[in-house]
């Protein structure tokens, strides 16, 4: 997530946390100097792009045999970014794709920000990769002009060659590398980029680089790293956050064949940040032996204060609190005065429980420690956070931590938080040999950085047509800020679907009240948008039905004719997902457009809901992208929900790799529907009650949406997020569809708790 958008007052408060380097506040965008040649010797780890004969950028190098090395510094967890960013550079270079080799960048600040989160890799690095490709192309053309003795202006490029059309002369890129390498790297401002009509890769379908390796099992994830002399570790963490060991008996554990020793790790101290949790590590010569040994540990715990955390009373308190006035974070017009005038008033409260990321690959890391330096291999969304966290844990300089990034077996936000890498590093130093830390699925479910539980309240007074004239929107949730020692939510948590409501209403107030966390809270795909959007777009649907109006027509009316919303004028220092508000405004015209297209594509209004069939709609802006979702449901006599079809209409600006962008909206629909139907994590006496995929249910093939159709609105706008924005509107549209089919208004997740028969 974009922690760099902490406002001044919050930044002052968090100064201590930030200065420890707990999370990366490095520049979001690639700094200007990255566009030029990397300073010699500055690299933590040299890539083949760095050592290539021609290397005009930290992201790109070319060898005399014509091989192009392109570094992806963002992590691959399923979005296709490892392929998409290189495609942008290769297009500007006019390279032949099969002569491109992709390298995964280690954690290194010279690449700019590497926190692959917040759906912003393309948004923030599209330009940098265009510059990388165009710089190399420009240098190759200059070299060719000299060798051919023709003006550079007469030269063009195609398929890895510089071409002089007049004479028919051609020179391959490889042959030009030596001469081009002697030329200065052009300034980014002087580069000419290809016009859209000349794009060969951008906007075209392209399989991901790792496709064959995945299909044949060769793809290397974090768990697949083995080092010579490596031992394995399985860690019994305190069952309650912050718990300490009262007594430990490891005698039986040590009798397990293959187990060599146990190591006690210090219990985490607040703020938790990404530190190792503490506990007892069982060390041995195989994954199985340490897992078996761990089962034989006898540990008595002092649970500490968080043993008070039990979900049912916690939920009851949140539902009460959300009805009480709280601190305003957005104010437009005068909501109280409008409510004071009387009229028809609607109120509703929505609730969502905690959820776990449950990426298919549990957290895992391999670490080696030699001569004061740590080398880590792990599936991480943020290798610079690995550097920061490991350097803090070991008390060594960040430059002495090399983090190799493997493929990630899913991330969804969990793998931005490298506590598991800190564990491996601490153990590797202690044991003096390479260590692989393997989390079980139970560890993952019990010790996640959870998606927050939330209560969301709405109140509106409506005019004669049922449209609100005043709107009050209030949320209470376990804040991500708690993870970093803040007393409440970080500002960005309020900017995701609470402060940025885009309706054409004269009086709007948003409020938020904090809640204690008790467990580690973190960002989960789409973050606070999920519960803000669920409540907001279902409440609007409630108003539409109350007014006897069509939901789509009503939602369009709620947006009015559409405009750029000036949130600053309403007291909101809107973080806008880390993007410049001038370039990426909140524009309700784009929201209208996706709704209108969704209506057409989904055949909205053609079939009358009822008899166990229903259709629902919602539209939401998140990660600077506008998405409308239309969900159809079928509900049988037993009340079972089947989702035959979802239409996702998105405006994410320029689409780099349409197939991969589509896949993100398909997956967002599945995860959104799965979370809405089944997602629930609960605690009793501070302990998480779910253990594995039996207790924490996720969508399986037989309960996932059958068909997800994805449509892109070609707005020509700058590229924005695709990974996360497909989730939030699906949740609300699904609840709205169930209402249309059954007349039952679901105001609580997971929906499976509501009897529909």
């Amino acid at each position: 997530m974009f922690i760099e958008n902490i406002s001044l007052n919050r930044r002052q408060f968090l100064g201590g946390v930030l200065s420890t380097g707990a999370f990366v506040v490095a520049s979001r965008l690639a700094p200007e100097e990255l566009f030029a040649q990397a300073p010699a010797g500055a690299a933590i780890f040299n890539t083949k792009a760095d050592t290539a004969a021609l290397h005009p950028s930290v992201y790109l190098g070319i060898e005399p045999d014509g091989t192009v090395f392109i570094v992806t510094h963002r992590s691959e967890m399923g979005t296709g970014i490892r392929t998409s960013l290189p495609l942008v550079a290769a297009d500007e270079l006019d390279a032949t794709w099969n002569r491109v080799r992709i390298e995964q960048g280690v954690g290194d600040p010279r690449y700019g920000d590497q926190n692959t989160d917040g759906s912003r890799s393309i948004r923030d690095f599209y330009d940098a990769f265009r510059v990388a490709g165009a710089s190399a192309r420009s240098m190759l053309i200059s070299a060719a002009a000299t060798q051919m003795n023709v003006p550079a202006a007469e030269l063009t490029t195609a398929n890895h060659e510089v071409v002089h059309a007049k004479s028919g002369k051609k020179l391959g890129y490889g042959a030009l590398v030596a001469a081009a390498a002697k030329l200065p790297v052009p300034k980014a401002a002087d580069l000419k980029f290809k016009p859209k009509t000349a794009w060969k890769f951008v906007g075209k379908e392209r399989p991901i680089y790792d496709l064959n390796n995945i299909a044949t099992g060769k793809a290397e994830f974090g768990l697949d790293v083995y080092r010579d002399g490596m031992v394995f570790a399985s860690i019994e963490h305190p069952p309650v956050l912050g718990g300490t060991i009262k007594s430990l008996d490891d005698k039986d554990a040590l009798t397990v064949k293959g187990v060599s020793q146990t190591v006690t790790l210090d219990t985490i101290k607040p703020p938790v940040q990404f530190q190792a949790l503490g506990g007892v590590a069982v060390i041995g010569n195989s994954t199985w032996s340490v897992m078996q040994g761990r089962k034989k540990l006898k540990i008595d715990w002092n649970d500490g204060p968080h043993a008070s955390f039990t979900s049912d009373p916690f939920k009851a308190a949140m539902l009460e609190k959300v009805k009480q006035p709280a601190k305003a974070c957005r104010n437009l017009g005068n909501v109280d005065a409008e409510f004071g005038k009387g009229g028809k008033v609607f109120e509703s409260v929505y609730y969502t429980p905690m959820a776990a990321h449950a990426s298919m690959e549990p957290p895992a890391a391999v670490a080696e420690f030699k001569n004061g330096k740590a080398e880590i291999w792990c599936p991480t969304q943020n290798p610079q956070a690995v550097q920061d966290t490991v350097s803090a844990a070991l008390g060594i300089d960040k430059k002495n931590v090399v983090c190799h990034v493997t493929l990630l077996g899913g991330g969804f936000g969990r793998k931005s938080k490298p506590d598991y890498a800190a564990e491996a590093a601490l153990l590797a130093r202690k044991l003096g040999k390479p260590v692989k830390v393997v989390w079980t699925r139970e560890d993952d479910i019990h010790h996640d950085f959870y998606h927050a539980a939330a209560a969301v309240y709405h109140k509106a007074v409506v005019d004669a047509k049922g449209k609100p004239t005043a709107w009050l929107h209030r949320s209470v949730f376990q804040p991500i800020g708690s993870t970093f020692g803040a007393p409440g939510p970080l500002p960005f948590e309020l900017d995701l679907g609470l402060n940025d409501v885009a309706y054409d209403i004269a009086n709007i107030r948003a409020e938020n009240a904090g809640a204690d966390a008790h467990v580690r809270i973190g960002w989960f795909r789409a973050v606070t948008n999920n519960f803000h959007a669920f409540a907001q777009h279902c409440f609007v649907d409630e108003l539409a039905h109350a007014a006897g109006r069509d939901s789509l027509e009503f939602m369009l009316d709620m947006l009015g004719p559409g405009k750029v919303i000036d949130l600053k004028a309403q007291g909101v220092d809107y973080s806008n997902y880390g993007a410049d508000i001038a370039k990426y405004p909140v524009d309700s015209r784009r929201m209208r457009k996706v709704l209108e297209v969704a209506g057409e594509k989904s055949n909205w209004g053609k079939r009358k809901p009822g008899n166990g069939w229903g259709i629902g709609i919602a539209a939401h802006r998140s990660f600077n992208t506008y998405v409308a979702s239309v969900v159809e449901v079928e509900i049988d006599a037993q009340g079972r929900v089947r989702i035959p079809r979802i239409d996702q209409v998105a405006d994410p600006g320029v689409v780099i790799n349409p197939d991969r962008a589509r896949s993100q909206f398909e997956g967002g629909a599945v995860m959104g529907a799965g979370l809405a139907m089944f997602g629930e994590i609960t605690a009793a006496n501070g302990r998480i009650q779910q253990n594995n995929f039996d207790g924490f249910r996720v969508a399986r093939m037989n309960d996932a949406p059958v068909q997800v159709n994805v449509h892109f609105v070609e707005s020509g706008n700058l590229p924005t997020g695709v990974g996360e924005p497909g989730m939030p509107p699906v949740i609300a549209a699904l609840a709205n569809a169930i209402y249309a089919a059954t007349g039952k208004r679901i105001r609580e997740m997971p929906f499976s708790k509501t009897k529909l028969a």
């Binding site: 399989p207 990426s359 997956g667 995860m671």
Partner: protein, 152 residues
């Protein structure tokens, strides 16, 4: 002592008879294509074939494998030629993160042996044990239909 065949090679195992096949192929043989997802037979990421049938290797004890033939994703392609299920996975760009796909492919390959032309309902039934957290299910279903047609 357990004698078994893994991906066409004879192997002898004399460790803990309760160790699951999953950790044998991964830690001992370094056949890492078979993935660890849950350790409880709930997610299917560790699916392999034993005597041609899809099994969850995390729930298959080494002691049960005497004389058995094991096939993992690492050897599903023969002499560099992708299995038709793998081909279909490539055609439909099924994977996102890719982690669960070894298990999905092994389950699908086993399904097509017993049910050459599966219906959507057959596919739902056979694949319900394989979780994909990225949500690639509709492409998996389409790829299985494509692979089924390729035999015809």
């Amino acid at each position: 002592m357990v004698n078994l065949t893994v991906n066409g090679k004879a192997q002898t195992y004399d460790g803990d008879p309760d160790m699951p096949l999953l950790w044998y192929v991964r830690d001992d043989l370094r056949l890492t294509g078979t993935r660890f997802g849950c350790g409880a037979g709930l997610c299917g990421a560790c699916t392999v074939h034993v005597n041609g049938q899809a099994v969850r290797s995390c729930q298959t004890k080494m002691s049960t494998l005497a004389g058995k033939t094991v096939l993992t994703i690492d050897a599903l392609a023969t002499n560099g030629t992708l299995h038709r299920v793998q081909k279909a996975w490539v055609t439909h760009n099924v994977p996102q993160c890719g982690y669960c796909q070894s298990g999905q492919i092994m389950s699908a390959a086993a399904l097509l042996k017993t049910t050459p032309y599966p219906t959507d309902a057959d596919i739902d039934r056979a694949m319900a044990g394989n979780i994909c957290r990225c949500g690639t299910y509709q492409r998996i279903r389409a790829a299985i239909h494509t692979a089924a047609k390729e035999r015809a």
